[in-house]
């Protein structure tokens, strides 16, 4: 009885499997038939470009609609990536051999893709774009361009004018030098226990170098030398800059960027280094707050530069992309000033890389946005280096040790220097 029962069950399972297979086959046959039937009277086939990017679809869709009108033979399949998982999605797609035809790639992710020869070399296809766009340093490696700069981002100094006034400082004269800045930070910090002079990033190791390096770059320091083969992390300029940065810590609120932004919004921090997205957020969430945006402070009057971190969103085409030519056509369209500017106006995150955008009338009526455009002139991008992920990790780790008081400024940077030097030394 048992074996008979099992054979009946076995037949039933086999039947269920066969049924599922039959249904799947039926679907394939019906699909093929429909496709075959429609072959006879099909409109001229459109080519499709798969485009992955980070802006909300409401911001990018009007631009793509314009592209469709200009290129009626190309259909754009756009997909919005999230900042949390976009990187993983791109990696998975490349690994699966199905990358998008065109993708928006952040400048910190770009070196890894270049190092692994994942992106195609566009240098010879876009010589005409060279003088029309800024930010090539984030997209080039050894003189070859592996992506096209689309949007450029930087950070500037947000100043709480109410706290400046309370601290007896002129609210219309934001600190321009390190000494002025340190003095203002200390005076604002002394106002009340719940008020801090400066918002210093901590608890998010991945952004630390972006916050510290502007002071180092402004002081003439750097991470690698001009040949990208030698670490210059422990230079006197960098050590001096880190000492200055750490001197702000006793008067600072230490937290993650979004919490620092929040604290600035609530009027509890005198100064915060942040991006243009705050320009939209502040008037909406804190209409009574009086604030100003200023260039980063420089080491001293007439010395160094008001440097900041330069990031970029570049457009890249993967080696495995299927519609490379159409992807490039779309990229060329997107970087044009008249197409990039609406994306900035809609998102407020990063500025068009198009040189012509600087003269856009939008910045006349939005002077605070204009400060970021000015800041971009002295902003510095991290080097595009095949080992950048590791270099960045070392730098961030050592900076974190310094911020937490585990190492002195000098010890942290010397340790970073030695580790980066070991990384760059060719293995026998």
């Amino acid at each position: 009885m048992g074996s008979r029962g099992h054979s009946v069950v076995g037949r039933a399972v086999a039947g269920a499997l066969a049924g599922a297979l039959a249904l799947a086959l039926l679907a394939v046959v019906v699909g093929a038939a429909i496709s075959f039937a429609s072959c006879g009277h099909r409109a001229p086939a459109k080519r499709t470009v798969v485009f992955w990017q980070f802006s909300p679809l409401t911001a990018i869709q009007p631009v793509l609609d314009r592209f469709r009108r200009e290129h009626p033979d190309i259909e754009v399949q756009v997909e919005q990536l999230t900042w949390q998982s976009g990187r993983e999605k791109i990696v998975a797609a490349v690994a699966a051999g199905r990358p998008p035809d065109l993708a928006e790639i952040g400048s910190t992710f770009l070196p890894g893709l270049v190092a692994d020869s994942t992106l195609i070399d566009l240098t010879d296809s876009i010589p005409d774009l060279k003088p029309l766009l800024r930010g090539w340093s984030v997209a080039e490696y050894r003189g070859r361009a592996y992506a096209i700069p689309w949007m450029l981002g930087t950070r500037a100094l947000f100043v709480n004018q109410d706290l400046m006034k309370r601290a007896g400082l002129s609210p219309d004269r934001p600190p321009a030098t390190w000494a002025d800045f340190a003095g203002a930070v200390a005076r604002i910090d002394a106002l009340a226990p719940e008020i801090k002079g400066f918002g210093m990033n901590s608890g998010e190791r991945e952004v630390l170098f972006k916050k510290f390096m502007p002071f180092a770059w402004g002081n003439g320091g750097d991470i690698l030398d001009s040949t990208l083969t030698k670490s210059v992390v422990a230079s006197p300029q960098n050590i001096q800059a880190l000492r200055f940065y750490l001197s702000l810590k006793p008067h600072s609120l230490l937290d993650r960027q979004e919490m620092l932004d929040e604290a600035f919004t609530r009027g509890r921090v005198g100064f915060a280094i942040s991006g243009p997205w705050m320009l939209r957020k502040l008037p909406a969430s804190s209409p009574d707050l009086h604030f100003e945006v200023a260039l980063m402070p420089r080491p001293a009057a007439g010395k160094g530069t008001p440097a900041s971190f330069a990031g970029a969103e570049a457009l890249g085409i993967f080696r495995g992309s299927r519609a490379k030519a159409d992807g490039l056509t779309l990229a060329r369209f997107l970087v044009r000033e008249e197409n990039a500017m609406p994306v900035y106006v809609a998102t407020g995150n990063a500025f068009p890389a198009a040189v012509a955008a600087v003269e856009d009338t939008y910045f006349v009526s939005h002077p605070l946005d204009k400060v970021f455009v000015e800041q971009l002139k002295t902003a510095v991008a991290p080097p595009v280096h095949p080992r950048w992920v590791e270099i960045e990790e070392i730098l961030n780790g050592e900076l974190e040790e310094a911020i937490y008081g585990k190492k002195s400024a000098e010890a942290a940077l010397r340790s970073a220097d030695a580790r980066i030097a070991a990384l760059l030394t060719p293995k026998p």
Binding site: V9, A16, A20, A263
Partner: protein, 301 residues
Amino acid sequence: MSGDAGTRGRASSASRSYAGLLPWSLCFAVFGLVPLLAALVLSFYDMNPLRPDLTHWIGLSNYTRALGSPAFWHALRTTAIFVVGTLPVTLLLAYAVAALLSRLRRGEVFFRAAIFFPATLSMVVISLVFKSLYAEQGLLNGWLTALGVPPVHWLQDPRWALPSIMAMDVWASVGYYAILILAGRKTLPPPLLEAARLEGMRALEVERRIILPHVRPVILFVVLLNTIRSFQIFIEVFVLTRGGPLDSTLTLVYHLYERAFYHFEMGYACAIAYILLFLVGLILLVQRRLIGRAPAEVPAS
């Protein structure tokens, strides 16, 4: 004749069950079993997802590399602290909450729903809420300041970051496990409890000698489930601390995520995942033996 009909009926019922399981089995095969086996194979390869064409066999190198890596051992230690710190607390609290809920005469449904509520939320949402609570100028520090206690750098202080995540995890898990234990308690035959009371047993004695042995299988299930979940801790770390500060919250799954998606060492990440799988399997076996084997006490009567 009737025997044949019975056999056919049972067979038909079984076939319906198998047919019902078919969609899940197919999904499990495609989205569970295949990736699991693929990861096992990959763990013996040097594989960069951006250059799959360069993938090559390296044998056990990924495993030996992991076992010789200080970062791996640090992440394992952090994960172990998390598991050891959260598991007993979660279990004790869940048991206590279940005991309290079972004694309620009124409002049981409301309290049951309230206790279970965190289980209905995504861990991402919970983490985001706690991120605000734990902020330097967040609600918790607001309360501390009002009490005259200096604020605590919950997620910024390496000594506090992991305990803060552990506390959040306990809060998020207790309700779910309490409801499971409560369901176990509800299966206890009321006459048994009645008999125990008639025998003059005190409440604590009833709890220890009747209820606890009865719900032991549920407790075993809760321990196993919570152990697996705790070893897999990732979302909380991803949202709140990204492994920092000073690597104080670098757990094993977050470590393997970084190796896979930031350093593109997919084979190495797979090897770490399999070491974790092996460790969790080993611990589950020990737990099963320790908790599952203990004889159930029965009342003397």
